[in-house]
Symmetry: C2
Subunit: 323 residues, 2 copies
Amino acid sequence: MNIEMIRAAATRLSGHARVTPLLNSPFLDDIAGRRVWIKPECLQHTGSFKFRGAWSALSALDEGTRSAGVIAFSSGNHAQGVALAAQMHGVPSVIVMPSDAPALKIENTRALGAEVVLYDRGSEDRDIIGAQLAEERGLTLIKPYDEPQVIAGQGTTGLEIAEQAAAVGVVAADVIVCCGGGGLTSGIALALEADAPGLRVRPAEPEGFDDVTRSLRSGGIERNSAVSGNICDAIITPQPGDLTFPIMQRLCGPGLVITEDEALHAMALAFLRVKVVAEPGGAAALAAALCRQDQIEGDDVIVTISGGNVDPALFQRALDTLE
Amino acid sequence: MNIEMIRAAATRLSGHARVTPLLNSPFLDDIAGRRVWIKPECLQHTGSFKFRGAWSALSALDEGTRSAGVIAFSSGNHAQGVALAAQMHGVPSVIVMPSDAPALKIENTRALGAEVVLYDRGSEDRDIIGAQLAEERGLTLIKPYDEPQVIAGQGTTGLEIAEQAAAVGVVAADVIVCCGGGGLTSGIALALEADAPGLRVRPAEPEGFDDVTRSLRSGGIERNSAVSGNICDAIITPQPGDLTFPIMQRLCGPGLVITEDEALHAMALAFLRVKVVAEPGGAAALAAALCRQDQIEGDDVIVTISGGNVDPALFQRALDTLE
């Protein structure tokens, strides 16, 4: 895993993934006590950065392997990223989802051209189902984060941040990244190490699901005691990845932990001040910039909004925090 | 008014205004029956394209004139655009607003550094108040649309559309523009005439406030019978501008008229599918692309989302249309 892989992924993504802009607002600067720069990956295809990693992984396969198709386990942003990247490559995709996943997510993934295979969480093992399908059809598994070409794709976000930060004169700042398994976080960290060494990545996580923050503190991989029960579901994983953690350990500053209410209010401020739609997990980094000022240094802070796939009802709860 | 003024404005705006991306979604393509490309000017500074025209006008003044300050009449997007452009130039701005304007708009405009002068709509004449202030302090009036340097600034949106459309292989399409006084519409039309002659601008307006659509049809300036009473308030003006109308008449295709409910639903789809916040008037062009398919030709359509300054309560009404 190295910077050359990220640069090669950027070449493959060019003209297919979107270059998202860097946004800001004087109103957010006032709240944070420093300038806040937002990288809105909610504006990426399928509404999250996951499309970058999916496209990177698919485009890195040799044509024979790719044409047989790909498979992924996900009911969320990774599923949609893989489905669209496969559709744009003209190859089949199979997404294995729990049968109790929200109907809208199943429908959206199907609409992006994927074959959705449902399994019963209580009685069936998704790994066995997936392995069997992969073998029968020659499908390649696209893992959500612990996979070099996926990390390389997410890292292209960091190449853009380096360039865009330099364009606004920011050469030293914390870059807070919404962090689940660490694919985006480690990819951005590697990109910045090469292209903007004054920018330091710090993961943001929800309270109670701060495995990366604790792992960085203890120096070894720590697990979450639960993997559900928080509105920031998009960035909750059991533990940091085996590939991503050593990168984060080498390059990242301390993690920042935010509450559900803080994530909701950050969503509302993203609506009000920069006109983008953030999902709760996607707003974690902005929440940290706005609510953990005392744990951040410097005149500038950069944050990712990693995704915007949120149900209207939950978004309305976020808007209610403005009253 | 010519293309060279738009190119000169683009040079002055470079590094100050944002280059907004071009967004799309297969879900919107399905609804529209053709590919839909969205230019989200809601992501511009102050949440609307108005910042472009304001920056263009301010930066075109000679330094002595500019340093005395500027004045504008507006309670909406133009006010915020002028206030921020003046603040970024380090010069004073006075915004004349009706005293019954929403408190949040007054507060936002003040927060952007403007001096807000309130007048009573019933008993006072804003033109007299403004003229007196301008004379006393040597302020320059920045008109909202019928002003060459403002049109030139809005036209920079068209230069970007021409380049971004070419990058995705679109050389012939209707470009639907949310239309009030016609500053954005005529500016984009001039830019496309020069840089993308296969792209034709068409104004979008709310039902009952379709002065430009009717004027284009009759060949002479037609007035609206009212100037309030529609949620698309940002794009309602008494009549097309004296400068903007001849440009629209020469270059634009027929107008498209949408209802309030269609605007609300387009806002909801912008939320769901491209993760941006549109205000009702800002969603008019998208609504036209989605709901007036039979009045549009070709495999592609381009639409502006001209602004995103919408109150949470009204946005919740839009989200309710998804249920």
